[in-house]
Structure formats: structure tokens, C-alpha cells
């Protein structure tokens, strides 16, 4: 197990190095840089002043020098300085992370609470009216982009109630109820879409397991339906579901752009888009690396979970 984790971590480090090269180069392939954007807010460009600012920011140096500097900074815990805000990048990024993590966790919880039970029910009641109904609901979830659903929620609230949640983030210590409302609505919009995917995977996985001999034996032994389905069938069908949940969670960390924008939540994804538009390299590079780390760690966590869920799973040394 220890060897396996060490091996995975080594691969993760290599992946991160690869990611760093890709994001570093891709950013610089995009036309223009921060100085062009700064001048565009002034409506003109002065080539001499532009060169001076580029020098001041260090983006006039050869690419490999900039890359090595960035890696060295990361290793020493220094994330650099935001070009746009003239502040340490960490100071800018730090408040964004809890917002996105909270939204992703809440969305995932909602997705699991909705998706797993409905998937199981749909499998057990295969080809009944209830099954068809649940499949339609899940298909609708897959078909509706969460940002669209989010916008519909906002517009429906304002049209029917003349009310929407506060547009400035309220901390839970300040007012827990308002904070919960601010997160619950976007989490529902995102969680519904993810639940549809989880529901479909759960359904097909449980259906497969329900046809196994040991389930038939359990039925034959006269075990209660609830025990057969939830303890035997679901436990054996859960691995692919856990994989999907892990992937969905990792996706949510970077994939909440439009939801955060629609609900005006100051999270990582919304900020990342703005930083890309501004070519704020230190912010973009570090945020992308953060997302990559979350993806790698959540995958590792899911792998670790396999052995706990299914003792037959062994990690090769």
C-alpha cells in the first residue's frame, strides 16, 4: 500500500510538471499580454512605455527563464505577484478557494443524495412507470446545462418572489442562514446535473449486480429486500459510482465558471476566467496548478477508497 501511494505520488509530481509546462506555454501562446490589456483600458499603446512595464513585470525575459523562476518560486512557497492587482498572488487566491471547495462539496453531496437512491430504485423497479419517470428526470438533468438551470432559478425567483439571494457573499459566522441559501441554490443547480450522471451509473451497475448468483442466493435464503438491495447489491455495485463521484468532484473545482458567475459567487473558476482575460499569468498558472492538484488528490483518494469498499481490491507493490 505504501509503495503504491509513493508510486502514485511520484506519477502525480510528473503530471504536475507536465501540466506546468502546458499551462505556461498555452498562456503565452494566447495573443497579447497584461500590458496590452492595461493599455487597452487607456485606449492607446505607447511602445516605449509598454517595454518599460514588461521589463518591470519581468515578462520581457526569455520564456525558459520565466518558467524556471516560476518553478523555483513554487518550490519556495512564493506564488509571485498578481500583475493586475499588484498584490501577492496568494493573497488574491486564498479567499477564492473555500468558496469553490464549499460549493463543490455541497453540490457533490446533493448529487450523491439524489443520484444513488434514485439509481437503486430505478434498477430495482426496472421497466416500471417509476423507472421511466426517474430516467426521464435524469435525462433532463443531463440535457440541461447547470448554468442555464442556474439562470432560470435566478429569473424565476425574481419574477415570482421579487427576491434573489444577496449578491455579496455573507460568511457563515455573520449569518449562517443567508450563507446557506447563497450556496444551496447553485449547489442544487450543479448537483442536479451531477446526480443525473450518478443515477444512471448507479442504475446500470446495480442492474448488473442484481443478476449475479450471490444475489439470487440471498433472495433464495429469504433475506429482506432492503438488505439484499442496499447491503449486498449496492455495496458490490458502488465502485464505478465512486469513480464517477470522484471525477465529478474534481471537475467541479475548475468547472463551476458559469455557475459561480450566474450566482455571483467569488470562487476559483470565475476568477480564473477573469485572470485569463487579463493575462494575469501568476494567478492563472497557480490556480490551474491548484485545480490539477485537487484532481490528482481526489483521484488518489478514490483509489484508496476502493480497498475500503471492497476488501478484494489489492494494490500491487
Amino acid at each position: 500500500m505504501r509503495t503504491y501511494i509513493t508510486h502514485r505520488l511520484a506519477v502525480a509530481v510528473l503530471t504536475l510538471v507536465g501540466m506546468s509546462v502546458v499551462i505556461f506555454l498555452l498562456l503565452r501562446l494566447a495573443p497579447g499580454n497584461i500590458v496590452d490589456i492595461l493599455f487597452s483600458t487607456g485606449g492607446y499603446v505607447s511602445e516605449s512605455d509598454k517595454a518599460a512595464i514588461m521589463k518591470e513585470l519581468g515578462i520581457d525575459r526569455p520564456l525558459w527563464v520565466q518558467y524556471v523562476d516560476w518553478l523555483r518560486d513554487i518550490l519556495t512557497g512564493n506564488l509571485g505577484k498578481s500583475y493586475r492587482y499588484d498584490l501577492p498572488a496568494w493573497q488574491v487566491i486564498k479567499p477564492l478557494i473555500p468558496v469553490t471547495v464549499e460549493l463543490a462539496i455541497l453540490s457533490t453531496i446533493i448529487a450523491v443524495l439524489l443520484g444513488v437512491p434514485t439509481g437503486v430504485i430505478s434498477a430495482v423497479r426496472q421497466d416500471t412507470t417509476l423507472d421511466y419517470l426517474l430516467r426521464i428526470v435524469s435525462l433532463a438533468g443531463l440535457s440541461m446545462p447547470s448554468f442555464w438551470l442556474g439562470m432560470v432559478i435566478i429569473l424565476a425567483l425574481v419574477a415570482w418572489l421579487g427576491w434573489i439571494p444577496p449578491v455579496i457573499l455573507v460568511s457563515p459566522t455573520e449569518n449562517f442562514k443567508i450563507h446557506a441559501v447563497q450556496f444551496l441554490l447553485p449547489a442544487l443547480a450543479v448537483g442536479y446535473r451531477s446526480s443525473a450522471l450518478i443515477m444512471r451509473i448507479t442504475r446500470s451497475s446495480v442492474l448488473e449486480v442484481l443478476r449475479e448468483d450471490y444475489i439470487r442466493t440471498a433472495w433464495a435464503k429469504g433475506q429482506k429486500g432492503r438488505v439484499v438491495v442496499w447491503r449486498h447489491a449496492l455495496r458490490n455495485a458502488i465502485l464505478p459510482v465512486v469513480t464517477v463521484i470522484g471525477i465529478e468532484f474534481a471537475f467541479l473545482i475548475g468547472g463551476l465558471v458559469v455557475t459561480e458567475t450566474v450566482f455571483n459567487l467569488p470562487g476559483v473558476a470565475r476568477f480564473l476566467v477573469q485572470a485569463i482575460l487579463w493575462r494575469d499569468y501568476p494567478i492563472v498558472q497557480n490556480l490551474v496548478m491548484f485545480i490539477a492538484i485537487v484532481v490528482i488528490l481526489s483521484n488518489l483518494f478514490v483509489d484508496m477508497l476502493y480497498s475500503w469498499l471492497d476488501p478484494r481490491v489489492r494494490y500491487g507493490d
Binding site: P31, G42, I154, L155, V262, F263, N264
Partner: protein
């Protein structure tokens, strides 16, 4: 007899009220409350107004600062007559408009407690005009051209400043009254305004949460006693259009963002919330067509003219702005501006007549230049990859198609747009221009003067330059108006930068917001010192 006296007195009082225009019932302003304003994006350069040319910075930064003078916040139309004192108690033109003397207020303090003096004024404008002995340099300096006529600035004592000019220039006062002309403290490095704000203004910066909001609190030491009325202001950053208007409609925001509300959007909001107050004002922002005169094919004046007259401006206003704009030449049209051409003059200009006739003339001009159905003029139209720009460009392309010009659309990213325009690496372009003050100097020197970095088309005409200089120093306002009209006609004749239309703003605010009077210019009414909430 006494009844008659009473009746006569009542009539006299009534006449006095009518003559003075005093309202029958006046509401006393109330103190307190926090105003929540829409903010369309995070502050691009922090509070550094002198380093930017966008309302996204000016609007949320103005409450922190003061100017020497400002356009009266309570009057929509901005002109020389509506300028009121701010840090300058009074001013005086001397030596036939060659010296502008400001007498500064005493006992004014910066938000950090330091006293305000004439050195602050001198250092600020020496920095902006890039004087040889300027104490600092701005990283980006978009309005240096506004102040090129200043020979030197003298601060003979802590409360007097004299702007010595190279030649008379009455417009200097107007440019100093723009929201783009705040006074910075000499003791705070200019670069720090990108992250914090130290001003003398009615509000002190409490917090700027990046990407979320900017929050101000009342400045208790403000030099105007009894102002401001508000306890604070919050500028809430909301990028998504649907969300920001839902927030306004739901009362999470009290006011919209200047220039952000289109006619269509506001009609929807008003239908849902009939109480919402909507003011239709000019933005002092125009949609203009860039024709690069430094390169073929538009170094040929005949072709430029053909392109200009081929476009139906009235149809443009209807189609692209759904009526939310007005046609006009290079100065904002009346009643939104002071200098715009009269209707009869405008309709006599090329491109403003009957569309079919104008298109026929355009075809004729193209034929004279050697272009026709067998040899169509092929050009590339560049514009920013933003819907408002693309709609504009697409309309023009369609109009040109009707006279046989084949134009293709090239969308460029914001980061590339100004480098491309400044370097003149395009043939045609769809562009928007906002002007900080409704003033010929502010507009002409910036956009049409030979060598100006914002003269994207490269248009440079000796005769027009002479007229621009002439109007700039003309002290007789009637004569100046005549010269400005001649310049506008000439610019349209030359298709120097054909105007498509002047944008209108449908500024929306809740009725409980009082004394916030939107101006016919986005950039100059954000001080908020007179605003109060009737809650």
C-alpha cells in the same frame, strides 16, 4: 380691503414661486443608509483614475477624490456654465485666458490626515502632463494631450495655484471638471492608487475585495459641512448581465451602472418594476468607423467617402441599438451636448440623406475609383470580439454589400485591439469612443489631431488642425461654436472617422435614491456627495 390684500399677497407669492421654479413641496434630505451600486467588472487599475480610460475605474473611484472644479452634480447637461467649485474655492482667468488662477480651500485634509495644499495640485498635473521636473511618472497616461497647452504650473503659496498656458484655452477648465481629473496627494506614490485610495473626497475607502466589491464609508472630515448624506457606498461587481438586472429588480442594488443599461433591458426591468426610475441621457460615447488613411485603399479620399455615405445611420440606430442612440457628427448632438450640429446641417452632410440616393452616390464614387460588379472593392473589417462591436461591424458589412463592397469580418481579442489600431495594422475597423468632457478640445486633440496616439485612422489635415487650434483659443463662444461646426462638417466630408451614432444610456434607479442625476456624459457624475436615500 384686507381680503383683497390677502388675495394679492397670495398671487404675488404664487408668481414668485413660478418665476423661481421652486417646487411646491420640497423634501428635506435624509442622512444615513448605504447605497448599493452595480459595478460591471472589477476595477481595472484600482483607483488610479489618471492611468485609465474606462468608466469601470472612474465610477467606483470618484467618491474617494475631488477635483479642483466639477460639473454640477445636479445638472444633466455639462457646460462651462455648470462648473462648480470643489477643491478650488474660486478661480479666475487672467491675462486674456493665458493664466488660470485657482484659490484653494483651506482646512482640507486627505483621508490620512495630511493637509491638502497647492503642492498636491501642482504635482498631480505636472505628472499628468509629463513636465520635465514632474515628481513622478504615470505607468499609462491616456490624457496627457488634454494638458499639452500648459506651460508651467506655479504654486506661489499653499492655497493658490496658477496654470500658465502657452496660449489662451478656455476649455482647460472643462477638462479639469471631468471625473478623469482628480487631484492626487503629493505624499502618496501614484502607483499606490492601483491598490488603495487616499483622497479628500466625501467617502473613504473601507475595503476592496477583489472581484467582489468596493466599500466606502462617509468621510466625517469632509470639507463641505453636512455632506455627504450617505453613510456608505458599496459597488458590487456582477459580471453576468441577467444576474445584475435581477439584483436591481429584486432591490439588492439601488442603481444601475452608467452606460450599461440598453433600451431593451430597461424596458424589461421597468415592466417588472414599474416604480423603477429610468433617465434617458447621452453617454458621450460614439460608434465610429475607422478607415485607415495611411494605407490603401482608404488613403483615397473618394473611397472613404463612398464607404461613409453607403451606410444608413438611421437604420443603424434602429437595427443595432433598437433606437437607443441618436445620429450626430463628431460632437455629441443636441440636446445631449452643447456643440453638436443642428439637424439641418447634419442632414445636409454626406451619408445623412435618403438612403437610396446616398447608396447610388456611393456606387458612382466607387465606379470612379475603378470598382464595380466585375471588380468589387474587397476589404477587411477588424473589430473587438465583443457582441456590441461585432453587431456594429456586421451591420456595416451588410450595408457595404449593397453597394458592391465585399467586406470580411476579422474579430480580434481585446488585448490585440488597441495595439492593432495604434499601429494602424487594419483597413477598416468598428470602434467605440468615449469622451471625458463634452468639449471640442478634449475630442479633437485626442481623436483627430496629427500624431495623437488615439488618432487611430492617421487622418491629418493641415487646414483642420488650424481650425482646431483656432477654436481652442477663441474666447467668443458664438464664434467658437461656428468654427466647431465647420470642423465637424469637414471631418464628415473627409470621412475622417465616420460617425454611426451616439449612444444613449437608460440609467435605472429605485425611487428612494434621491439627488443622483445622470449626466449626458458617463464619466462625470460619480461623486455621490449629494445623493441621499429616502428610506
Amino acid at each position: 380691503m384686507s381680503r383683497l390684500r390677502v388675495a394679492a399677497s397670495l398671487i404675488v407669492v404664487g408668481l414668485v414661486i413660478l418665476a423661481t421654479g421652486a417646487p411646491a413641496v420640497s423634501q428635506a434630505p435624509k442622512y444615513g443608509g448605504v447605497l448599493n451600486s452595480m459595478q460591471r467588472e472589477d476595477l481595472p487599475q484600482g483607483f488610479s483614475i489618471h492611468e485609465t480610460g474606462t468608466i469601470s475605474t472612474v465610477w467606483p473611484s470618484m467618491p474617494c477624490f475631488n477635483n479642483l472644479v466639477l460639473f454640477d452634480p445636479l445638472k444633466k447637461l455639462e457646460s462651462m456654465d455648470t462648473i462648480v467649485p470643489e477643491l478650488a474655492e474660486k478661480w479666475s482667468w487672467q491675462d486674456n485666458y493665458r493664466n488660470l488662477v485657482f484659490f484653494l480651500r483651506k482646512n482640507v485634509k486627505w483621508h490620512d490626515g495630511q493637509p491638502f495644499t497647492s503642492k498636491d495640485v501642482k504635482d498631480t498635473f505636472d505628472m499628468v502632463r509629463e513636465a520635465k521636473d514632474a515628481p513622478a511618472k504615470l505607468r499609462i497616461n491616456p490624457r496627457k494631450d488634454w494638458f499639452v497647452n500648459i506651460d508651467n504650473i506655479e504654486a506661489p503659496d499653499p492655497h493658490t495655484v496658477i496654470f500658465h498656458l502657452k496660449r489662451p484655452q478656455p476649455s482647460l477648465l472643462l477638462m479639469l471638471a471631468s471625473g478623469y481629473s482628480p487631484v492626487y496627494p503629493a505624499h502618496v506614490p501614484a502607483a499606490e492608487f492601483r491598490t488603495r485610495c487616499v483622497g479628500t473626497g466625501p467617502f473613504k475607502l473601507k475595503e476592496w475585495r477583489r472581484g467582489e466589491y468596493v466599500e466606502y464609508v462617509k468621510n466625517p472630515d469632509y470639507f463641505i459641512k453636512g455632506r455627504p448624506y450617505l453613510e456608505g457606498i458599496r459597488y458590487v461587481v456582477i459580471v453576468e448581465r441577467g444576474t445584475k438586472y435581477a439584483a436591481l429588480q429584486a432591490g439588492r442594488l439601488d442603481i444601475a451602472f452608467p452606460g450599461e443599461s440598453t433600451k431593451t433591458v430597461v424596458e424589461q426591468v421597468k415592466a417588472a418594476q414599474p416604480k423603477m426610475v429610468v433617465s434617458v441621457v447621452g453617454q458621450n460615447v460614439n460608434d465610429n468607423l475607422l478607415l485607415n488613411v495611411t494605407k490603401p485603399p482608404f488613403n483615397d479620399a473618394k473611397l472613404r467617402r463612398a464607404i461613409s455615405i453607403a451606410i444608413d445611420r438611421r437604420a443603424y440606430v434602429r437595427a443595432v441599438h433598437q433606437g437607443g442612440a441618436v445620429i450626430g457628427a463628431s460632437m455629441a448632438p443636441k440636446p445631449f451636448g452643447v456643440w453638436g450640429l443642428l439637424d439641418k446641417d447634419l442632414t445636409a452632410l454626406p451619408g445623412y440623406g435618403k438612403p437610396a440616393d446616398e447608396k447610388a452616390k456611393a456606387k458612382k464614387l466607387l465606379a470612379e475609383a475603378g470598382f464595380g460588379p466585375s471588380n468589387p472593392l474587397r476589404v477587411e473589417m477588424a473589430t473587438r470580439a465583443i457582441p456590441i462591436y461585432v453587431d456594429f461591424a456586421s451591420f456595416v458589412i451588410n450595408e457595404l454589400k449593397q453597394v458592391g463592397v465585399e467586406a470580411t469580418l476579422k474579430q480580434v481579442e481585446t488585448a490585440q485591439w488597441h495595439p492593432l489600431a495604434t499601429r494602424k495594422e487594419y483597413q477598416m475597423g468598428a470602434n467605440l469612443t468615449g469622451i471625458g468632457a463634452d468639449d471640442p478640445d478634449a475630442n479633437f486633440y485626442e481623436n483627430y489631431a496629427c500624431g495623437s496616439p488615439r488618432n487611430y485612422t492617421g487622418y491629418c489635415d493641415e487646414q483642420v488642425m488650424k481650425m482646431i487650434d483656432q477654436q481652442s483659443q477663441e474666447l467668443d463662444s458664438k464664434k467658437r461654436l461656428e468654427i466647431v461646426a465647420r470642423i465637424q462638417k469637414q471631418l464628415e466630408e473627409d470621412a475622417a472617422r465616420p460617425m454611426m451614432g451616439w449612444r444613449l444610456d437608460y440609467f435605472a434607479q429605485w425611487p428612494h435614491v434621491k439627488n443622483l442625476v445622470p449626466h449626458h456624459n458617463l464619466y462625470n457624475y460619480g461623486r455621490m456627495q449629494e445623493v441621499w436615500l429616502d428610506k
